[in-house]
C-alpha cells in the first residue's frame, strides 16, 4: 500500500498487530485508536473518530499515516 508516498508494510503491520500485547490493548476498550503503520504502537485514541483525529493532529501525527481501529468491549456479542 502506497498512498501519498506513505508505505504500509502489510505483513509487518499484521504480524505486529496480531502480537500486540493484550494488556496494552485492554487500556483502550471501547475507544477508537490509531495504530502506527508498522502496527507496533497505538499512537492516539479517542471516544470517537472526531476526537481521535483531533488527538492525532494535536500530537503532530498525520492521520493519513496511521491505521484507524476500534477496541471492542470483550464481553459484547456483535450482531
Amino acid at each position: 500500500m502506497n498512498q501519498n508516498g506513505h508505505r504500509l508494510d502489510y505483513a509487518l503491520h499484521m504480524e505486529n498487530r496480531r502480537n500486540f500485547p493484550r494488556d496494552e490493548l485492554n487500556r483502550f476498550i471501547g475507544k477508537h485508536i490509531a495504530f502506527s503503520f508498522d502496527g507496533s504502537r497505538i499512537v492516539a485514541s479517542g471516544e470517537d473518530l472526531r476526537e481521535l483525529e483531533a488527538n492525532l493532529v494535536a500530537a503532530g501525527i498525520d492521520p493519513s499515516r496511521v491505521v484507524f481501529d476500534y477496541v471492542d468491549p470483550p464481553d459484547l456479542v456483535i450482531l
Binding site: M1, Q3, D48, L49, E53, S64, V67, F68, P74, L79
Partner: protein, 151 residues
C-alpha cells in the same frame, strides 16, 4: 490470486458458550483504504456478508474530500439497531494483503450514527468479489469476480 485475511482473534473474559468454550471471538476484520478527492484514510472494517451496503462513519466523508451536501439518501437498519439515515457517495476503496492489492470505485453509505467499524457489505464491496469465509481455517478469502470494476 485472492486476498486472504486471517480472522482477528479477539479475546473475551469468559468461555464463549456458543463456540464450545473458546476464549476468543474470531472476527473477519480487515484493513481497508477509503479515498475521495482528499487525503485517504486507512482503517479496519468488518466483512459482513449480511450487510446490504458498505457503510462508513460520516465523519470520514469530509476528511477524505467527499461532499455529502447533495448526496442521495437512504434509511438503513441493523439487526439490533433502529433506522438511521445514510448518505451515499462514490469513493475509491482498496483492499490488500501482502500479495495482492485491489482498488475500485464503489458506492458507499455514510452515517452519522455511531459506527465503531466500517461495514464492508454487498453494494460497493462484496459484490465485486467471490468471498469464502473458511470457518474451519478462520480465514476470509476474496477473489475478484467479473463485476470487479477496478485495477
Amino acid at each position: 490470486m485472492s486476498l486472504r485475511f486471517p480472522y482477528d482473534l479477539q479475546q473475551v473474559p469468559y468461555p464463549v458458550v456458543s463456540l464450545g468454550g473458546r476464549w476468543v471471538r474470531p472476527r473477519p476484520i480487515v484493513p481497508v483504504l477509503i479515498a475521495g478527492t482528499g487525503v485517504p484514510i486507512l482503517l479496519y472494517g468488518r466483512l459482513d456478508s449480511a450487510a446490504d451496503d458498505t457503510i462508513f462513519s460520516e465523519h470520514l466523508a469530509a476528511r477524505i474530500g467527499v461532499d455529502l451536501t447533495e448526496a442521495p439518501t437512504g434509511v438503513a437498519t441493523g439487526v439490533a439497531s433502529g433506522p438511521v439515515t445514510v448518505r451515499y457517495a462514490q469513493v475509491t476503496l482498496c483492499l490488500f494483503d501482502q500479495h495482492q492489492r485491489y482498488e475500485w470505485l464503489g458506492w458507499v453509505g455514510f452515517t452519522a450514527a455511531r459506527l465503531n467499524r466500517p461495514l464492508l457489505g454487498f453494494a460497493g464491496c462484496l459484490q465485486f468479489f467471490t468471498t469464502t469465509f473458511h470457518g474451519d481455517l478462520e480465514v476470509a478469502e476474496l477473489a475478484v469476480n467479473r463485476l470487479y470494476p477496478g485495477t
